[in-house]
Symmetry: C2
Subunit: 299 residues, 2 copies
């Protein structure tokens, strides 16, 4: 079954102590859509300016991503630039130029309105709502977010949480949202806000799923060298939902394995700048890491 | 089969922002021996002063710990005092009074020399060597350590690593020892120093086992409230080796499940000051957490 992804479509300029990488393909929707495309047909909703490189459109198409919902309008593509410290954990934003995103309203093409799996990748909660308003009874809706929206659009986000099946956030965001350091108490509070499933991402320490059948503690795939973690969280949710859509059936039954698939794709994302590594990976390479991860949790 | 534990036997005074707990039973050997005692017969090698409270000897005996190797000599018992910050992660040592440990030389009673499982809990590497010198071809030897010995007794420790089957350390110690932030590279370097099995403890993020059959990424048992993490690492290795000794047979085959048992005991340790919670736990309660942990990693 197919996945509808909404999120940001951006150009990322990523600086590290050893290199500068200007205007890479980035944004939560780009990462999530490419990740999901390894498993399921994907359609993407977003906006780019007329400065958006054609080669990036080709890259989406190479991954068979349906671009009917991608608006290309006059103006500048959303541009983010950031700098990582040597340990690749701490990053600071240098500039954020919203460009065409400033006035973006997602319009769903008719054929996307029946998407069974909807991924509300990281973007303003008001836009996530806007997409949800246009879809017809999807089978499963998952939302991601970031600290920015917790700080400036909390009310919108809280309303969104009542409309989604699964909510994904990282550990520091969970702390920010619930004011709880303890992960169990934090999970409990987030469930009370609405979502049946909550997934807390912990970077290199993996992730925790909480749902009706209890906790699942998933490892991150350990990699030798982190080149650029930008988009790893988006790749994780994209791979996760793409896998879930590909197997269909009972979500509860497949969600754990879906998380392992998300972790595998996210590990590739970290091995190159932007999407450079992810877009060169094969399904067989992903499957190999999934198999390794399964071996790493087997008793 | 039985486990021989050597390590420190101490009185711990533990201060937190909410309470003071003077002269609790502590020390790596105390925590490890009690943890192991849930699964196997345990004998302990250590030293205490004549100020050592009788009730603590009774506590060891309640856990059927063989104390023939525990020297009780004139002088003061090793005393450590420390203070935790509110988040219970950062602690600072207030005082360390070595007392009778200053001149301690472990002497193994004859009947301990054939112990099949030997746990060299955290103590000066020279004392760990001293115990190893006295045992006859044990089946499995595991050593724990702490940053102090990496800083002041590295040479002794490096020699020890060539004599043990398994080496346990935490992530910051692995970084200190190998000067590597990446856990895979770090593990590789530690294996080269000798041990067939390396276990890196990551606190609330669980642990990683590296051995001939690859990696095992184990979760920590998530608890609602951390009262006092002192001794959790010692409880982890004690529970681990106690379980391993109880099942006997092939180490490779049982080590993963042993780690889960270690995690379960360590979680109880964190729920009370010193050994107050661990010494009140039943094997059935431990088994229940083991079962829960197994459920948390099941795909």
């Amino acid at each position: 079954m197919s996945v509808l992804v909404v999120g940001s479509t951006a150009l990322d300029s990523i600086k590290t102590p050893v290199s500068e990488n200007p205007r890479l393909l980035g944004g939560s929707a780009s990462h999530a859509a490419v990740a999901a495309s390894f498993f399921s047909p994907v359609s993407m909703v977003g906006v780019v300016g007329d400065d958006f490189p054609k080669k990036y459109l080709q890259l989406y198409k190479k991954h068979k991503i349906d671009l009917q919902g991608l608006q290309i309008i006059k103006g500048k593509t959303f541009h983010w630039s950031g700098e990582y410290e040597l340990n690749m954990n701490n990053r600071r934003t240098l500039t954020t130029e919203l460009g065409v995103f400033e006035t973006f309203t997602p319009h769903l093409p008719q054929r996307h309105k029946d998407a069974p799996y909807v991924l509300l990748a990281n973007i303003a909660p008001s836009l996530q709502h806007h997409v949800l308003d246009q879809v017809n009874r999807p089978k499963f809706v998952m939302a991601d977010t970031m600290d920015l929206w917790l700080n400036i659009a909390l009310e919108d986000l809280l309303k969104l949480l009542k409309r989604v099946d699964a909510f994904v956030l990282n550990d520091s965001e969970a702390h920010l949202l619930t004011e709880e350091r303890n992960i169990l108490t934090s999970l409990k509070k987030i469930h009370k806000l609405g979502p049946k499933y909550v997934i807390i991402k912990k970077g290199e320490h993996g992730s925790i799923l909480s749902g009706p059948s209890g906790l699942f503690i998933a490892p991150a795939y350990p990699i030798k060298c982190v080149t650029d973690p930008t988009g790893a969280g988006d790749s994780f949710v994209g791979g996760l939902l793409g896998y879930l859509a590909s197997v269909g059936g009972n979500v509860e039954k497949n969600l754990r394995r879906a998380i392992i698939h998300g972790s595998a794709v996210a590990s590739f994302c970290c091995e190159g700048f932007g999407l450079t590594r992810t877009t060169r990976v094969t399904r067989a390479q992903i499957n190999a890491r999934v198999k390794e991860l399964e071996g790493m949790v087997r008793l």
